[in-house]
């Protein structure tokens, strides 16, 4: 993996995460589709649900 590839991945992530308005050249066309954006938002919601909100005093675990 060369530096150009890393930069391309960064630009792709920037686009998916909303930091850039346009995908980098050569990005798969589906990343700009409305359906993919919907899936991405849902995935983020799921990730937030799974990982955020736990406290450091998570003692009892038998649920």
């Amino acid at each position: 993996m060369n530096v150009e590839t890393l930069i391309w991945i960064k630009q792709l992530i920037d686009y998916i995460a909303g930091a850039a308005d346009e995908p980098p050249a050569g990005a798969p066309s589906f990343v700009a589709s409305a359906v993919f954006v919907g899936i991405w938002w849902a995935a983020l919601l799921v990730m937030i649900t799974i990982f955020s909100g736990q406290t450091s005093k998570f003692i009892y675990i038998d649920f």
Binding site: G38, A42, L45, T49, F51, I59, Y60, D62
Partner: protein, 315 residues
């Protein structure tokens, strides 16, 4: 934009359905189902994980075989007095054979006000969302914003049963944290050493809590008063049990004069409410009969339950 929102919403709804399915056999739901289908129980034990792990219904029954006693352990780990009230209300509603309600507590559980926030209602305490929301809203001391949130969020499985996901993530985190490290002692409830966090930080702090309750003339918390009243209204006797705790907890906290005074104070309040008080905290003296700083082992539970049976039903 509308397409993206629609897709995200549809997937999130699907995720909610998945979580609801995953949580269909959660510990509180299993307990509620057990209560719903069991008939003929005469003695029901209620409380948190100390009661759940400490009450051996079979040993209790065997000790009282001649008296036709049928005991049930309705203890629920990591639960509070409001859930205990919900559990007893449900049991009394469905089974009119209950004659004795045994309620186990430790430290200041009887007099601590049921102050909570919406974020505290997770894990087994999430039972309040689906078991008896009306009781939860009546007895939890919730800020108005949280009361509204509880009503709304009770319809969102991802919120109600988020602990199903969190527990899995936490177990994975703990397993990864153990890689290359010496094994830590665990039991069914988690890491044994973590349960020291549920004890007072020092004897001075514990003494301060005792004084706050006594000097503030703090009565029994409202859910406890209601629990006793409900049981008595159904013709059941209520026995409040100071649960066995390890010798270390006895020496460090329960030997303090302030606790002796608090114990007398709270026992008087219990008797005034029409319930009996059993001081069982020093019944188990062998430290090996405790699996962590709070919970009894199976052997400790058997010993405790046999003695409790003969104390409640003397020959």
């Amino acid at each position: 934009m509308i397409v993206s929102l629609s897709v995200a919403t549809a997937l999130f709804v699907a995720f909610n359905i998945c979580v609801a399915w995953m949580a269909r056999n959660s510990v509180p739901r299993q307990l509620l189902r057990q209560i719903d289908r069991t008939r003929g129980v005469t003695d029901i034990a209620i409380g948190n994980s100390l009661m759940f792990s400490g009450f051996d219904a079979d040993a209790y029954d065997q000790e009282l075989a001649a008296d036709h006693v049928v005991a049930m352990n309705a203890g629920l780990g990591a639960s509070s007095v409001v859930e205990h009230l919900e559990i007893l209300s449900r049991a009394l509603e469905r089974d009119d054979s209950i004659r004795v309600a045994i309620y186990g507590f430790f430290d200041f559980q009887l007099t601590d006000p049921p102050v909570t926030t919406v974020s505290d209602l997770f894990g087994n305490r999430a039972m309040s969302y689906y078991a008896a929301l009306a009781i939860a809203l009546q007895f939890y001391e919730l800020p108005l914003r949280d009361r509204i949130a509880v009503r709304v969020l009770s319809h969102v499985p991802v919120w109600v049963d988020r602990s199903m996901l969190w527990a899995k993530v936490e177990k994975l985190r703990r397993a990864m944290g153990q890689v290359g490290m010496p094994a830590v002692e665990t039991n069914q409830f988690g890491r044994a050493s973590d349960f020291t966090l549920l004890e007072a930080s020092s004897p001075e702090e514990f003494e301060k809590e005792c004084r706050l309750a006594i000097d503030g003339r703090r009565g029994l918390s409202r859910p406890i008063v209601q629990l006793i009243a409900d049981a008595r209204a159904h013709g059941a006797r209520v026995v409040i049990v100071e649960m066995p705790l390890p010798p270390k907890h006895q020496q460090e906290f329960y030997s303090l004069p302030a606790w002796q005074e608090y114990r007398k104070y709270v026992a008087d309040r219990v008797r005034d409410s029409g319930a009996d008080y059993v001081q069982a905290s020093d019944w188990i003296t062998n430290p090996s009969e405790f699996s962590d700083p709070l919970h009894m082992t199976a052997a400790g539970a058997t010993e405790f339950s046999r003695r409790l049976a003969t104390t409640i039903h003397p020959r």
